[in-house]
Symmetry: C2
Subunit: 353 residues, 2 copies
């Protein structure tokens, strides 16, 4: 692990160094959960789940079997749940208010239905949140409102500031908070998707997924580190794709798309074809990148670098969010039309006014 | 050449379709220059210069030998001048007010010194402008102020709107305007740098560089096309590098740079090393990318896509503009410190206030 930047103090922080949240809970912890700070066994050696492991190792036989609640098992969340299940835990979810599609997904992967959130909170000493970034704080609040005092792992693409806020809320209520950030697509293959974790209980959170295929990586004790890493990584991958969408839409609007594609194809390069694929393929996920781009913009501004890249990226993904659930990958012309739609609408409005 | 986007009308234009500037000059043309619209010979077949070619082909023996003026021969301009010289033209420049470094560069490449701008305008029926984008309009204006009526090739990284404005100014004064955009680094190798040209006289402009190594490409008759292509191409290459600078600076500021580099290095990838090189190497050119980023932002806004990507990129390049002329490539830590400097200064000011 490269450690150059860690060896010296950070150059700048607009907000104080990420708060190391106290884990001294002011309220009694979840009956089935207790933090064990000396548990630092390596991943992939346990196969009976994080709580079974704690029980067998430390003789706390009164502890419940590993029960982990997942909010809410979408494409990514279901793969996170599957790794926790592989690792010996019983995985619960809340069917109340969810779609038939979610129910089918949960059943397919053997998740247990807690029915309602109060029941999930009662059953599970560990809850993992995987949801759209904009919903992260509300989801956390709703869990606390049910009296949750266990370990809450927020694995969402949120700014470090927001992670600190949610963490503080958890600690204030007597729960334990672990900051998480997922890098990669849904985790169905080993060595392809990483759950980075930070906070004092990060290792225990990692142990819940020890059998993979989701990889875990414990970053350190500071809440916000995992979210910061996720923000910076996503900033480049999703930022450059959004920029590419904007470039191709601008070229289309200006009547030079064919010339641009030809320039990209100089010397036998397949960049033009690659770029067209990237723009077409991002449409399926664009709707859920919007919130993440806004979180990244806020993160960058707070870190002292311009947030406009991702403000623009949020706008780009908003314009093509309508391709969510499309039965097939749209044609490039249709994507570019959607990217320019906003202007077209504006022009129509202007003409009508 | 891919022509899909050309075959159908543009989806959107905030400004009217790029003006096809009339070449009916209201004032008499430069005595040594006359447009020959039927001259469409291929590049690389002439070796005596664009004007010699016209004379020998069409028997206009009264025409002067090919004399081309270059404003101003920097690293890129000198290579453009070299290709025009290879193609049989005498190349003039203006030493008045320029640095010793420019003089040395011009002498090394056999440019002839016209001394002053009025003398250059008197001598040369063709003038090529290669300057910082922010200076393009002033340079054009100063040439016209000397009574220029020849062919003016603007090869600068300017928005199509600005190209149209300069072009209109030229035509109004009785000169001929060719819109140009250079893609690639200084043109010392064949097949590496392209001068795209548009406007009715684009082919004649291309003929001035027929012997290379600068490659020319005639796009069409619309002023603004060449600039639009340049803007869209540069938007992606320079935009993604600026974004990378911002990402690494944010990671440094947030204390997760080492973690980000490790994530980039997963599965044996050398992306971390590549990214560090990109950020360090862009510092030498950052100072002259600032104006281009502003032009791209304006181009994008006009084309109906967000301009914020490049507003942010302009800010990034401004912060590292101070590395201009550095004797060696700076260390990554120094680049990141410069990228975060602005914030640091702000913080100091805030603390002092």
């Amino acid at each position: 692990m490269v450690s150059a930047s860690k060896a010296r103090p950070c150059l700048v922080r607009r907000w104080p160094r990420l708060v190391l949240l106290s884990l001294c809970a002011p309220a009694p912890p979840h009956p089935a959960f207790k933090i064990n700070p000396i548990c630092h066994s390596s991943p992939r050696v346990h196969n009976r789940g994080c709580f079974d492991m704690h029980r067998s190792r430390h003789g706390r036989s009164g502890m419940a079997a590993g029960k982990l609640g997942i909010l809410h098992p979408g494409d990514m969340g279901i793969s996170v749940a599957a790794s926790a299940k592989n690792s010996g835990n019983d995985i619960y979810w809340v069917s109340e208010g969810r779609s038939a599609e979610s129910r089918a997904r949960a059943e397919e992967h053997g998740l247990l239905d807690a029915g309602t959130l109060p029941h999930l909170v009662e059953l599970c000493p560990v809850i993992v949140s995987v949801c759209p970034p904009g919903a992260a704080e509300d989801v956390a609040r709703s869990v606390l409102a049910q009296g949750f005092r266990g370990m809450y792992i927020d694995a969402n693409a949120i700014s470090p500031q927001r992670a600190v806020r949610i963490g503080q809320m958890m600690v204030d209520a007597g729960a334990t908070f672990v900051d998480g950030g997922i890098i990669g697509g849904p985790a169905w293959q080993p060595n392809s998707t990483w759950l980075h974790l930070s906070g004092e209980a990060a290792q225990q959170a990692a142990d819940c997924f020890a059998a993979g295929p989701l990889e875990t990586n414990v970053l350190g004790g500071d809440i916000g580190q995992a979210s910061a890493l996720k923000m910076c990584f996503g900033a480049y991958t999703k930022g450059t794709t959004a920029l590419l969408c904007a470039v191709m839409a601008a070229a289309e609007s200006l009547g030079v798309r064919a010339d641009l594609e030809q320039q990209w194809s100089q010397n036998g390069s397949d960049q033009a074809a690659q770029n067209a694929r990237k723009v077409r393929n991002v449409t399926a996920k664009a709707w859920r990148f919007v919130g993440e781009m806004n979180e990244i913009a806020a993160t960058f501004e707070d870190a002292g670098v311009p947030g406009e890249f991702h403000a623009a990226a949020a706008e780009i993904y908003t314009r093509i969010a309508g391709f969510k659930g499309a039965s097939e990958t749209p044609a490039l012309d249709d994507v570019l039309a959607a990217l320019l739609q906003d202007t077209q609408n504006t022009l129509v409005e202007e003409n009508e006014a």
